[in-house]
């Protein structure tokens, strides 16, 4: 409960901070338009040469791209800013300030930053999802929507865990800022159904960097191709990964000797 209260407080402060920079909203809007635009161009290029890609029609793939953009928005709003700050704090020794606070360190460093204007990205992704869904032939029931929302949340947890594990690596390797590029690159694999990729790549983006679980599973829920088994595996995987992440964070923390004091 305490964790939620702290998260809520930091969220409020973060939003108030961001509201001072209103022009950023328009910059973000333009960036989202460009992102959606290039996504649509690629989609129409692909489907001008083929009818279906690994069993996915154009409308279904539009939904998938939408889900990828929504989750990207979640990552850019809540997860990535915190992890970037953590990396910086480890490099500069300012992490001490967070660690000396009388709160759970993992909670604290996961909620400190919020980039509110990235919400635009989530909304633009959601619009794509809705447009894609209206073009689908089959209709979606409330169960599909619930499964979608839940698996999207599971996806966010998975991505958060992955990010925190990698960022904790900064306790050993201090210069980790290029990891950001690595992740952004790999995250783009989520734009396409995971079945397209050759085996080795499919497994890496499923388990190593859990993009497939995070993006494909929610999109499967919306396009009524999600099997209960896949759903349960992704939930189970999230629980295991979260437990491991928590252990790994404390393990890494023991390595940290501070740099400022």
């Amino acid at each position: 409960m305490n964790a939620i209260r702290i998260g809520w407080l930091y969220l409020k402060v973060g939003v108030m901070n961001e509201l001072q920079y209103r022009v950023n909203f328009f910059v973000q809007l333009l960036q989202s338009l460009i992102q959606v635009g290039t996504g649509l161009v690629m989609l129409s290029l692909v489907y001008s040469h083929t009818k279906e890609l690994h069993g996915w029609s154009e409308a279904e793939l539009l939904t998938l791209i939408g889900v990828q953009i929504v989750l990207g928005g979640v990552i850019h709003t809540f997860i990535q800013p915190n992890m970037e700050r953590l990396l910086e704090d480890v490099q500069q020794g300012t992490l001490d300030y967070a660690l000396t606070k009388p709160q759970d360190s993992q909670v604290l460093l996961s909620v400190r930053q919020v980039r509110m204007w990235q919400v635009v990205e989530m909304i633009s992704g959601l619009i794509l999802v809705i447009v894609g869904l209206t073009r689908l032939e089959q209709s979606i029931g409330p169960v599909d929507v619930l499964a979608f929302a839940f698996s999207l949340a599971v996806g966010a947890v998975l991505i958060y865990c992955f990010w925190l594990i990698v960022t904790t690596g900064a306790f050993w390797v201090v210069r980790m800022e290029h990891v950001l590029e690595l992740f952004e690159g790999v995250y783009q694999t989520g734009r396409w159904p995971v079945g397209v990729y050759p085996g080795w790549l499919r497994y890496s983006v499923t388990f190593l960097v859990p993009v497939a679980f995070a993006v494909t599973v929610p999109a499967q829920a919306l396009t009524s191709r999600l099997q209960l088994q896949t759903f349960l595996i992704s939930v189970g995987f999230a629980v295991v990964l979260f437990t491991f992440t928590r252990w790994f964070w404390h393990f890494g923390l023991r390595r940290y000797s501070g740099a400022s004091a």
Binding site: I34, V41, H49, H178, G185, Q188, R191, L201
Partner: protein
């Protein structure tokens, strides 16, 4: 503000230039080799992008009975593997870094030097390229083992390619530095950079070989700079172009490079006049 730096002595001018370039490039090589791991993370992250395009288009080629507009899966493999090298050559002192340079007060110091700051950018990144090329080789070998590219270039194609990738480097430097001048007037340059990146993505051959684009896009691309930094170098090696179009391509590249640097010169002159120092 006006700047009156001491001019270089005329007699040793050329030698100073050569010395400066050689030393800066050597420094870049030494520095960047220190950060091999960081460089590798960065390069591996970049590999994801072409691999995605490659996998998607190969899948379409196979489901279409072997090819898309005449490009086979192996052809796509060749295109996107060469792409990775060209992409790395395309990393230059980018427009957004001008903001940092101005904000942090770096620029004021650089203005006092007897040499135009762009020489440092060109030399440093050119030196860095040698490290990048060496680090790229294992990546290319790995990708080739996985995707089996069809690549059988002639000696002329290789020669043109080797010139064209450096041409691409210079052209992109000139264009990015020119756009970077916007930072002297606004702190919201990011919007313009994003528009530039999106146009480049679509019109350069970065997203797909231009052959797959509609006719009018291909025509449009011929009259814009983007293609000469991306699509042309790649096609020169993998595209089986005629000798005439290879040489014409190099000429077009050269023309764009000269033109862009001329524009940069003007833009820079205006920008410096507008500049009010930060830091020092």
């Amino acid at each position: 503000m006006t700047v009156e730096a001491a001019p270089l002595p005329q007699a040793g001018r050329l030698r100073s230039f050569v010395d400066f370039y050689a030393t800066t490039m050597r420094t870049a090589v030494a520095t960047q080799f220190q950060y091999r791991a960081a460089n590798y993370f960065y390069m591996l992250g970049m590999v994801a992008e072409p691999v995605i395009y490659l996998v998607v288009w190969s899948a379409i080629a196979r489901s279409n009975g072997g090819n898309v507009n005449g490009i086979t899966a192996e052809g796509f493999a060749a295109y996107y593997i060469v792409w990775t090298l060209v992409r790395n050559m395309n990393i230059v002192f980018g427009a957004p870094f001008w903001e940092w340079r101005i904000r942090e007060g770096q620029f004021s110091g650089q203005l006092l030097r007897p040499m135009h700051p762009i020489h440092f950018d060109i030399a440093y990144f050119a030196g860095w390229k040698f490290v990048v090329i060496i680090l790229w080789i294992p990546i290319a070998v790995g990708l080739s083992l996985v995707f089996h590219p069809a690549l059988s270039p002639s000696a002329l194609e290789i020669a043109v390619f080797l010139v064209a990738i450096w041409g691409a480097y210079l052209l992109r430097t000139a264009v990015q530095e020119t756009i970077g001048m916007l930072n002297f007037w606004t702190t919201r340059g990011a919007a313009v950079f994003d528009l530039y990146m999106a146009s480049e993505l679509l019109l350069s051959g970065r997203l797909v070989p231009l052959k797959l684009m509609p006719e009018w896009v291909q025509t449009l691309a011929n009259f814009l700079p983007f293609k000469w930094t991306f699509g042309f170098p790649i096609e020169s090696l993998v595209g089986n172009m005629s000798t005439q179009s290879l040489l014409l391509g190099l000429a077009a590249q050269a023309l764009w490079i000269v033109g862009s640097f001329v524009v940069f010169r003007f833009a820079f002159r205006f920008a410096v006049r507008h500049y009010s120092a930060v830091g020092g």
